[in-house]
């Protein structure tokens, strides 16, 4: 089973991705009025330059990918294929965190994120998580998130959202 990083199909996609980014940059650059003023070059100069170089890089990467793969690639550590199920749990945790944090507060939202993430990472190691264990993880999440919340809001005066407006939860 070939390591997914050696797949020339994926490498081609990456090269096309770089070209895509360059295209977006060029499109954006075209919309910037390039009043040069005293400085000789205006605000559109660098965007065009970056778009151009990225396009060049994309083309070179594409050539390498079509001709047998990127040069001098160091094989990445880890498995040959990705464990997307585990990843899904992690991604779910992060998405939930991003949607909930301003509604349920930092502690609740991060504890949930933690529990889901731990489940995903355990899955990656081949362990399964039972329901009571998940409850334990949720508790651990609170145990980690709460002191962090208090440290940052009370001691360091950083603004973090809470479920209540007491500043403690």
């Amino acid at each position: 089973m070939q390591n997914s990083s050696r797949s020339t199909t994926l490498q081609t996609l990456i090269a096309l991705g770089a070209l895509g980014v360059a295209a977006v940059l060029a499109w954006g650059a075209a919309q910037i009025p390039s009043a040069a003023g005293y400085s000789g070059v205006g605000p559109a100069f660098l965007p065009w330059l970056v778009a151009g170089v990225l396009a060049l890089c994309g083309v070179l990467l594409l050539l390498q990918a079509r001709r047998g793969g990127f040069h001098d690639v160091e094989p990445p550590t880890g498995a040959d294929r990705g464990d997307w199920r585990s990843f899904a749990w992690l991604a779910a945790g992060l998405l939930l965190n991003a949607t909930l944090i301003e509604h349920a507060g930092f502690i609740v939202s991060c504890a949930l994120c933690y529990a889901l993430a731990v489940r995903g990472l355990r899955l990656a190691e081949g362990q399964s998580t039972s329901l009571p264990r998940m409850g334990q993880d949720l508790l651990t999440g609170v145990v980690i998130a709460a002191p962090v919340y208090w440290l940052f809001t009370q001691v360091l005066a950083v603004n973090l959202p809470g479920l209540t407006s007491t500043g403690w939860f």
Partner: protein
């Protein structure tokens, strides 16, 4: 007289750094840094990035002492992991993993840890003295540099970070320009023109550095772990008592000194990174070892192979503070983040820093001395404590990292949108790691891109819109030639070898 001037300023720095509150910050920073260095998955750059929100409340001297403590501590801590676990915490400790791990497997973990900690202390102290002596001199000289020279220096930094690190200049350049592209988002400094925001309000101020660093490194690492490293096992070596025999001392100290003087210059030049001096030191120690010790290299583990590179690593890291404090040019990802921290306070590091914020700078330098002592204590007798950290299972570790990542990113701008961006960047980080694209150039491009653009446009104003301003001035012409050499030499060598 310049010597007494430096001395009195340094003493003033000690007075500021020696206040109880700053000593506390230094200690917490060093302890946290050691913990971060020991634990896989987080590095000093990301940790400082995650803690950047404190710059809103804590005063500059204390927070810079704190961040510097983390930077340093991570380097000490990283050696511990390299020796015991063979997974280097930092690129600079990669070489330590070569011999140190072998020593640990032959039952001499304690000696490896001792030579690494003491060597780092020796190197760090000597390097700090060198910083004390050279930085003010360099700052005096650097005041004469103008925008064209600055731009060329930054160009040199861009080139070396993408061409020297990593296996492929092409991929390094791609990463650099992705970073530059990210840096373009937001309002142009000079004309106020809004670029690449797509009418999304949150992007008006640009993309936060913390967001990119944390997303690419920390969260990306967690994603990568879930995807690919679930089944990877790392075995922990047994700890032995941390001390060295007389002969081990005798073999170590010349290696420490050689490593220090090899490492410091590399840290000061924009050649980026600690890989070169540490590998150079390793090769040198191997060459210079007596025959009976030479055969320990690669087999049971030679102590010189740990002593030299560790000293070189520490000296190089200290050296990176020189261009940061005197020129305002970061030569590593962590110094780039430190630059960001300075910017949060409205301080722009550069040659004037020694005049405008001299209390801050000298307190920072003084705290380096103090930090070195603290770290020696934290890493020698207390090393057993840090080793216990290595027993935290990976799922809990990485999930915990996500919580800290959330604090760092949300704490900067109180925007949930940033958290979504962070997730997207984490995916990019996985992609980059999987396909061998270096990540450091993205951060350097993001932070230095706007600075370089400003310098370039200022330079062109000075030259009245002509591009020849960059070659008219001797210093910038010289730098451009160096840039060209850095780009062209590896190609020439490879072509020559094939011919």
């Amino acid at each position: 007289m310049i010597e007494t001037d430096i001395w009195s300023q340094l003493l003033g720095g000690f007075a500021t750094a020696g206040t109880p509150i700053n000593l506390l910050w230094a200690f917490v920073g060093c302890a946290l840094g050691t913990a971060i260095g020991v634990l896989p998955g987080l590095g000093p750059a990301v940790t400082v990035a995650m803690l950047l929100p404190i710059t809103g409340q804590v005063e500059p001297t204390s927070s810079m002492i704190f961040f510097a403590g983390i930077y340093y501590g991570a380097m000490y801590g990283g050696s511990t992991t390299s020796i015991l676990l063979n997974t280097p915490g930092e690129t600079g400790t990669m070489v330590t993993a070569l011999e140190g791990f072998k020593m640990a497997k032959s039952g001499r973990a304690g000696a490896a840890l001792a030579t690494s900690a003491i060597g780092s202390f020796v190197a760090g102290s000597i390097a700090t003295v060198l910083v004390t002596l050279f930085a003010p001199l360099l700052a005096d000289y650097a005041v004469r540099l103008g925008p064209p020279e600055y731009f060329c220096l930054m160009l040199l930094a861009f080139t070396t970070v993408s061409a020297v690190l990593g296996n492929s200049t092409l991929r390094g350049m791609t990463a650099l320009f992705v970073g530059l592209a990210l840096g373009l988002i937001g309002m142009d400094q000079i004309t106020g023109q809004v670029r690449y925001t797509g009418n999304v309000l949150e992007l008006m101020d640009g993309i936060e550095v913390v967001l990119v660093a944390v997303g690419l490194f920390a969260v990306g690492e967690a994603f990568y772990n879930a995807l690919y490293e679930g089944k990877s096992v790392s075995s922990l070596n047994k700890m032995t008592s941390v001390h060295m025999t007389r002969s081990e001392w005798r073999r170590s100290w010349p290696a420490w000194l050689r490593g220090t003087f090899m490492g410091f210059p590399f840290g000061t030049i924009p050649a980026g990174g600690t890989e070169i001096p540490t590998f150079l030191s390793y090769a040198t120690e191997r060459k210079l070892a007596d025959p009976e010790h030479k055969k320990e290299f690669g087999t049971t583990g030679a102590i010189e192979g740990v002593a030299g590179p560790e000293a070189a690593n520490n000296a190089a890291v200290t050296g990176t503070l020189v261009p940061l404090l005197t020129l305002g040019i970061p030569t590593s990802v962590t110094t780039a983040i430190l630059l960001s921290a300075f910017q949060n306070y409205g301080i722009n590091p550069g040659p004037q820093l020694f005049q405008t914020s001299s209390t801050l700078v000298w307190a920072l330098i003084a705290s380096l001395y103090i930090g070195n002592v603290m770290l020696l204590v934290l890493n020698l007798p207390l090393v057993g404590f840090w080793v216990k950290l290595l027993r935290i299972p990976k799922p809990q570790l990485y999930a915990g990292i996500l919580i800290f990542a959330t604090v760092g990113v949300y704490g900067m701008r109180q925007s949930a949108f940033d958290l979504y961006l962070m997730g997207g960047l984490a995916l990019l980080g996985v992609l980059m790691r999987r396909f061998d694209f270096p990540i450091a150039p993205v951060i350097v491009g993001l932070i230095m891109g706007p600075l370089a653009e400003a310098q370039m446009r200022n330079a062109l104003s000075i030259g009245e819109g002509r591009w020849t301003v960059f070659i008219d001035r001797p210093m910038s012409l010289f730098l451009l030639i160096v840039v060209a050499l850095v780009l062209v030499t590896p190609r020439l060598l490879a072509w020559h070898r094939r011919a």
